[in-house]
């Protein structure tokens, strides 16, 4: 019932300066939608427009089928968790949580019940009477969450809520948020610039750039089928390797010429990409699709190791191949020396091709 619909929504700052332009998006009831993008891409603005904190200059926003475009934030029944947490510094944890219910005239015993419940879920019981200034970052984060939960809003809106936490805590909170979402089951919009958060938390991801949506879809689907180089590169670290390439055909055989990686395409890929022969292309391959051992259909090439990052579970290697820097994700036992010349195998079964001028993916629909 509490789905969100954005219909050609824009935020015009004047003088042709748009924060968000013509964004249309449907978020389903109970869905966890992640808005992902680099800073300044309009994701926070979009979120704030849903909340009513930012004016929508064009288009419509509806929540639960109700047009809220011109409604004040307080009439939208949404809860926002801010990056800075925005806890009321002059109120105790308990009062922070109570504030929203007080504003909505929730009965007192109901207030008490919800605060107690949220506090127990979030482990905040010992801190209820403390001021936010006496809490650690993680605790504040929980208070901000608690404050949103007790309100029992139609929609949760979270604006980079984890970015002020240290790495370990961030990982834990990620999982807790997912669990929480499963339990509460409320429609959630989550803004982040961190692709890991996006991949692990979202039911769907909406990737934005320059005020527009680039791609929307389930995490793995987007990962597997990025619509363009921007999405392809943004969604992973190390970013997808991109190499200028050309295809040439000779009878049935389609040959790839992407600098160091050159050779005939496997049969399936050959069929898929035949149409692009002669075009200016970008050849894309994720770091994990470059293998250290031969495999049928994988094209061998050589490179000189320039960087080796042993992460423990895996090693990240950068090699210099021809003029190209290529990132490789290798297993932890593969430990070449810097400067060593090694042979690698590009698994062309997982290759991507993009148009060199537009950056759009060459359709690989079968």
């Amino acid at each position: 019932m509490s789905e969100i619909k954005l219909n050609k929504v824009s935020r015009d700052y004047g003088l042709g300066n748009f924060g968000v332009r013509d964004v249309s998006l449907e978020i389903e009831e109970g869905e966890f939608m992640v808005l992902l993008g680099p800073s300044g891409c309009g994701k926070s603005t979009t979120l704030r427009m849903i909340a009513g904190l930012e004016e929508t200059t064009d288009g419509q926003i509806s929540i639960s089928g109700r047009d809220v475009t011109r409604l004040a934030p307080r009439h939208r029944n949404v809860a926002v968790v801010f990056q800075s947490y925005a806890l009321y510094p002059h109120m105790s944890v308990r009062e922070n949580m109570r504030f929203g219910m007080k504003m909505r005239k929730t009965p007192a015993d109901e207030q008490k019940r919800r605060i107690a419940q949220a506090a127990s879920v979030l482990g905040l019981e010992p801190y209820l009477d403390r001021k936010p200034s006496a809490l650690s970052g993680g605790q504040r984060q929980r208070v901000a969450l608690g404050r949103a939960i007790v309100r029992e809003p139609d929609v949760f809106l979270m604006d980079e809520p984890l970015s002020n936490l240290d790495a370990k805590l961030r990982g834990e909170m990620r999982q807790e948020l997912v669990k929480l979402h499963r339990r509460v089951g409320k429609t959630t919009v989550f803004v982040t610039h961190d692709h890991v958060e996006a991949m692990t938390m979202g039911d769907r991801i909406c990737i934005m750039r320059n005020g527009s949506i680039e791609q929307v879809g389930a995490p793995l689907e987007v990962y597997a089928k990025p619509r363009n180089t921007f999405v392809a590169q943004f969604l992973a670290a190390p970013a997808m390797n991109l190499i200028e390439a050309r295809l040439s055909a000779e009878g049935e055989v389609v040959t790839l010429d992407a600098g160091p990686v050159a050779g005939p395409l496997p049969e399936r890929e050959a069929a898929l990409y035949r149409a692009s022969v002669g075009q200016g292309l970008l050849f894309g391959l994720r770091a994990e699709d470059i293998l250290t051992r031969p495999k049928p259909g994988a094209q061998a090439f050589e490179g000189i190791v320039t960087v080796l990052e042993a992460l423990g579970p895996e090693n990240l290697i950068v090699v210099e191949a021809g003029e190209q820097s290529v990132s490789v994700r290798a297993d932890r036992h593969f430990l070449p020396r810097i400067g060593e010349k090694i042979t690698l195998y590009a698994d062309l079964a997982h290759m991507h091709l993009f148009d060199a001028s537009s950056g759009d993916a060459i359709a690989r629909e079968t």
Binding site: R48, A72, R74, V80, A86, L87, H90, R104, R147
Partner: protein, 266 residues
């Protein structure tokens, strides 16, 4: 170490320069009138100067007037200054022009304003009343306090109001329940400054006031008569005039520094 000792020396010097005149005034207020100008430190001590001030000069009334007008004007002006400062800080209301025009309204010398103000106030029956003086002070202090408070509000994260508004508060509610309490130190600092300004103002108090509404500075100035300055009474009056601010110094200090530093630099 070295630097700290040098600082102490410098500060003690500064304190001496500031304190000596004040202590000398206190001393002058406590010696008989004919010893006002003697260089003896305390030839004899008397409270006659104070007694005369209250018995012959109606200083008690002046003191009450000053307290009333200074307090009331602060009470009137603070909400207005807070709201205007908030509008300037958050909504950039009126842009630079409004900000500047507000400040510019303070730049005309009071001597040029006193008579026009008197005439306008006279027409609505607000001369010779504490109400009129309160309104003038509230207006005089408004721009300065607005500017000070603007600094505080700029330093308060906007998300706080966002949180309050999504929590169900109106814009006004967010301001009232969240922004104001958070800005409390700044508000206190501004209020103290407003009080001091009103407490010390002279020209408008003189022109707009009457016999029953004379404030402390007017009373002090009236001790400068054509047949001599009643310096011992002046000393007593000055001592009493700075008394409330000395008594509250600790409190004032705390709020002024805490309050002002909150907003002045981000």
């Amino acid at each position: 170490m070295g630097r700290r000792i040098l600082s102490h020396i410098g500060l003690i010097l500064a304190v001496t320069i500031v304190l000596f005149p004040i202590l000398w005034v206190l001393r002058t207020s406590l010696v008989p009138a004919q010893d006002s100008y003697s260089s003896a430190i305390l030839p004899s001590v008397t409270l006659d100067n104070y007694r005369a001030l209250f018995a012959e000069k109606n200083f008690g009334r002046n003191y009450m007037n000053s307290l009333i007008v200074a307090s009331l004007s602060v009470i009137v002006t603070m909400p207005l200054a807070a709201m205007t400062g908030y509008a300037f800080a958050r909504f950039r209301t009126g842009g630079r022009f409004a900000r500047f025009a507000t400040l510019a309204s303070q730049m005309l010398p009071p001597v040029a304003l006193a008579l026009p103000t008197f005439m306008l106030f006279r027409n609505v029956g607000l001369t010779n009343s504490l109400t009129g003086l309160t309104i003038v002070y509230a207006a005089i202090n408004l721009p300065f306090l607005t500017w000070i408070l603007m600094g505080f509000f700029e330093a308060i994260p906007e998300d706080l109001e966002g949180a309050a508004m999504t929590d169900g508060a109106t814009r006004w509610g967010a301001f009232w329940r969240v922004v104001l309490p958070v800005a409390a130190p700044g508000i206190m600092a501004a209020a103290v400054l407003g009080f001091i300004l009103s407490w010390n103002e002279f020209l408008f108090a003189l022109i707009l006031g009457g016999s029953n509404t004379a404030t402390v500075p007017v009373a002090l100035a009236s001790l400068q008569t054509s047949n001599g300055v009643q310096i011992s009474n002046v000393a007593a009056g000055v001592s009493l005039a700075i008394l409330p601010l000395m008594v509250a110094a600790k409190f004032i200090q705390k709020y002024l520094v805490e309050g002002l530093s909150f907003g002045s630099v981000k």
